[in-house]
């Protein structure tokens, strides 16, 4: 199959011998079969991709690049504000070190968009940030324009261990749930305070306008002064509650670290109680046990191919998790990394899961499996209209592979982000290099 002449586009269908027209920074035309190719404008740069595979840029929704950077020194250990079980006030972007060399190795693996999250020590860890994998000196230059913030929350063992060891709440799973519920109850109160303030303010402004109008008519009275009319005082901004209020308003998307199926079901109830939505469970090692429920609720599950057993809540991991979660209608299975190593090979993670699915009759063709790393993560980020497939109008985030990307031997040859070539395996000068690695012993001459 690799011998076919192919500039394939994996959109939900495979296109053989297709042409893809990119009008930087977006795609002008989707992949079109030869014979009905889009008119290529004069002077267009032509990338010959005969015999190779083209996929949308890979999206990893669970990364700690920049917040747990390499080298893993104390000075760069910025991923967990493990000082309180609720740190909804912290924002991952304020910890991101853009010089983390992990960004460039992830790029070599075809990763073009990633969500960087705070760690999972806390029940509510803080805001995530969605970035494009472009080398930059500041995180602001990496941020995905217009992407919504996420909120990192965590189930299970980590919060109860971290705080239980400090002899404070939570030290149990029931303590965890009490913690989430109280936080959102407080947020509801905060929303009400602000709603009341806005209502009072509008009321005040209306009265003031009316009073001013009345004063114009009755010129002999003092100019619009009304001793009973005072401006309402806004509630003090509380950065924790502000973030949670945005969750309740649907403007911040909840990404929740949750291994066990029963805990995921608990959290769906909590979300219903307070009227917010969890967009994805991350590390959902037991998602296969509730594949139906997740699909019904429209919640994504972000999974590893085969991690298991490193803690009790990961003991039931199986290699068919992805294809089993993918199986129901309206499912949303995602491959994620949570690792500076794994993020370099998300395509291989998908390939392993495909193979184990196929063995038990869950056959996932490549044009569907690629969604685990592209369209489905884009959906969980609310960016499915902008990235995740090769379609006209979407950002031109593309990877050209030297072979079937679901092979251990495949390497990304070229990676484009917003139509710009960001990595070229044959041209080392087109490769970001972290400031940290400059002048270091490095990796010597090429083989």
């Amino acid at each position: 199959m690799g011998r076919l002449s192919r500039a394939g586009a994996l959109v939900g269908a495979c296109a053989l011998g297709a042409t893809l027209l990119v009008a930087s920074p977006a795609m002008a035309a989707g992949p079109v079969r030869l014979g009905s190719a889009p008119a290529v404008p004069d002077g267009a740069h032509i990338v010959a991709a005969q015999g190779r595979w083209v996929t949308p840029g890979i999206i990893d929704i669970h990364s700690h690049l920049g917040v747990y950077a390499s080298p893993a020194t104390k000075g760069l250990d910025d991923g967990n504000e493990a000082t309180s079980p609720n740190t909804a006030n912290v924002w991952a972007e304020h910890s991101v070190w853009p010089q983390d060399p992990g960004f460039e190795t992830a790029l070599e693996g075809g990763v073009t968009t990633l969500q960087i999250l705070p760690g999972s020590a806390n029940l509510i860890g803080g805001r995530s940030v969605v970035v494009k994998n472009v080398a930059a000196v500041t995180y602001q230059a990496m941020k995905f324009p217009g992407a919504a913030y996420g909120l990192k929350m965590a189930c299970g063992e980590n919060p109860k261990r971290v705080y239980g060891e400090k002899n404070q709440a939570p030290s149990t799973r029931m303590g965890n749930v009490a913690g989430y519920r109280q936080a959102f109850a407080d947020a509801q109160d905060y929303v009400q305070q602000w709603d009341k303030y806005r209502h009072d303010l509008a009321d005040y402004q209306k009265k003031k306008t009316a009073a001013a109008g009345g004063a114009k008519k009755a010129k002999d009275k003092d100019a619009g002064e009304d001793k009973d009319l005072t401006a309402p005082i806004p509630p003090k901004r509380d950065l924790k509650l502000e973030t949670l209020a945005e969750v309740l308003h649907g403007n911040i998307r909840v990404h929740m670290h949750c291994y066990r199926s029963d805990e995921m079901a608990t959290m769906l109830d909590v979300a219903d109680e307070f009227g917010f939505k969890i967009v994805a469970f991350h590390h959902a090692v037991e998602a296969y046990k509730i594949a139906d429920l997740l699909a019904q609720k429209g919640v994504c599950a972000a999974m590893w191919a085969d991690w298991w057993g490193f803690k009790m809540e990961a003991f039931d991991g199986i290699q068919e998790n992805l294809p089993m979660v993918d199986y129901p209608d309206r499912s949303c299975a995602i491959v994620h990394s949570d690792s500076e190593d794994g993020i370099q090979r998300l395509n291989q993670e998908a390939a392993k899961a495909m193979a184990h699915g196929a063995r038990v009759g869950l056959i996932v063709p490549p044009e569907r499996a690629i969604r685990w790393l592209t369209l489905n993560p884009a959906k969980s980020l609310g960016l499915e209209d902008r990235i995740g497939t090769l379609q006209p109008g979407k950002a031109a985030d593309l990877v050209i592979w030297n072979g079937n990307p679901f092979s251990v031997y495949a390497l990304a040859e070229q990676v484009f982000i917003d139509g710009a070539l960001r990595f070229d395996r044959d041209h080392p000068q087109v490769k970001p290099r972290s400031d940290f690695l400059l002048g270091q012993p490095g990796v010597g001459a090429p083989l």
Partner: protein, 419 residues
């Protein structure tokens, strides 16, 4: 497109019914990756008698055997090496009562007791849930490597076969494990220079006669064990920085130890010296990030460079729960310049040689123990699965706790039952 994903259900069903009676059998018409100088033999028969490979090729053709396995061209490899792991020494990493891999006497740095006599394989549990999980994916043996607790000497470990027998330790594979570099430094008063200072002290004690003085690192048993390693014993040094690797190579030579480098992130920098000293390297070829200041030269080319320089290499991720992924390490090394046959050797013949087992394990050759894996495609490819595994000539029951979980929930998924 779907042709790639056709399942070959035939071969395995027939073989998985019965666990475990060693019987003579012939695997007919396999693509045999021997991991020997013979390389790959197409359409070849392999005869197994009494748990040992009795004949290969023409000599096996037509041999009388009770059972015939039709390989139909599928690929056969030696059983794979799981790496330096805690297989059978732990169940759940974060649950300390289920972990036996590390001796930690909680001594302060100034009052250290070294226990080279600690032998971690005595804690091996062949009935661990991890063992079948690894075994059904072709991992037939592994080396139990004690981690360092509060002393740079972690103790001794050994290779074990993973067929479930209680008496699993493979003779001649015993090794001493020592943590160097920044890991060791943290256990040696804060500087890697003190690693050599303390090792020198322990060696002096091991060579000394007479009573054990105050402040000694070693007890009597420790002296005896240490002394054994000073006459050609195998010592596995966990070390990554190039300068530290050279330091270890010289130290081992001066003290009569047979050094093995584990980690070796920057080994490619000193590849020539390693080849000259005939010191092998057990590495994770996927390590390419400067994860600390011992790994600044980490590179995906490490394996290929070492191989070209003539260094014997083996692969280990150190991950016990996912020991099954050593194949993925090998496949990626191929993508980054290592010849395919060398990558296979790095998870079969080479580790067997490194741990003194090469005469009986690691290759498909007459006289070798019949640890074999029949794959449904290229064994180094991530989408390939094992159809059948044999250890010492016995077919492995291709089930694990994970396949049980899968089967319990699979029908519910397929039939859209309510959960």
């Amino acid at each position: 497109m779907k042709a790639l994903f056709l399942i070959s259900a035939g071969a395995c069903a027939a073989l998985t019914a019965q666990p475990a009676l060693a019987q003579d059998f012939v695997i007919r018409g396999a693509t045999v990756h021997t991991a020997t100088a013979q390389g790959t033999l197409k359409n070849t028969d392999v005869l197994v008698r009494g748990g040992v490979i009795a004949a290969i090729g023409a000599a096996a053709r037509g041999a009388a055997a009770a059972t015939v396995v039709e390989a139909q061209g599928k690929e056969l490899t030696p059983g794979l090496f799981g790496g330096l792991t805690d297989l059978g020494l732990e169940e759940v990493s974060a649950e300390s009562q289920s972990v036996d891999s590390t001796l930690n006497l909680k001594s302060p740095a100034w009052g250290q007791q070294w226990r080279p006599e600690f032998e971690v394989s005595q804690a091996f549990n062949p009935r661990s849930t991890l063992v079948p999980v690894a075994r059904i994916e072709g991992i037939t043996w592994s080396v139990l490597a004690p981690a360092s607790g509060d002393a740079i000497i972690g103790g001794q470990g050994a290779a074990v076969t993973l067929d479930g027998r209680f008496d699993a330790v493979l003779r001649g594979s015993g090794s001493l494990f020592v943590a160097m570099g920044s890991t060791g430094a943290a256990l040696a008063g804060g500087t890697r220079a003190a690693e050599f200072m303390l090792l020198d002290q322990a060696i002096r004690e091991a060579r000394a006669q007479g009573p054990i003085g105050e402040g000694a690192l070693l007890h009597g048993a420790g002296r005896e064990v240490m002394a054994r390693y000073l006459s050609g014993g195998r010592v596995v040094f966990q070390v990554d920085r190039a300068a530290d690797i050279l330091g270890v190579v010289g130290f081992a030579r001066r003290n009569g130890m047979k050094a093995v480098i584990a980690g070796g992130s920057e080994a490619w920098v000193v590849a020539k010296e390693l080849a000259q000293a005939d010191v092998p390297v057990i590495l994770d070829p996927l390590k390419d990030l400067p994860s600390d200041f011992d790994h600044l030269g980490a590179s995906l080319d490490n394996a290929a460079r070492l191989q070209r320089a003539g260094v014997r290499i083996a692969f280990s991720s150190g991950d016990s729960h996912n020991a099954r992924l050593t194949r993925q390490l090998a496949g990626n090394a191929v993508a980054h310049g290592l010849p395919w046959e060398s990558a296979l050797a790095a998870i079969t013949a080479n580790p067997a040689d490194i741990f003194g087992l090469g005469a009986t394990r690691g290759r498909i050759a007459v006289g070798q123990v019949a640890d074999l894996v029949l794959w449904n495609a290229d064994p180094l490819e991530v989408s390939t699965l094992a159809d059948q595994v044999w250890i010492a000539g016995r077919p492995v029951e291709m089930r694990s706790r994970q396949t049980e979980l899968r089967d319990r929930y699979l029908d519910k998924v397929k039939t859209h039952q309510a959960f």
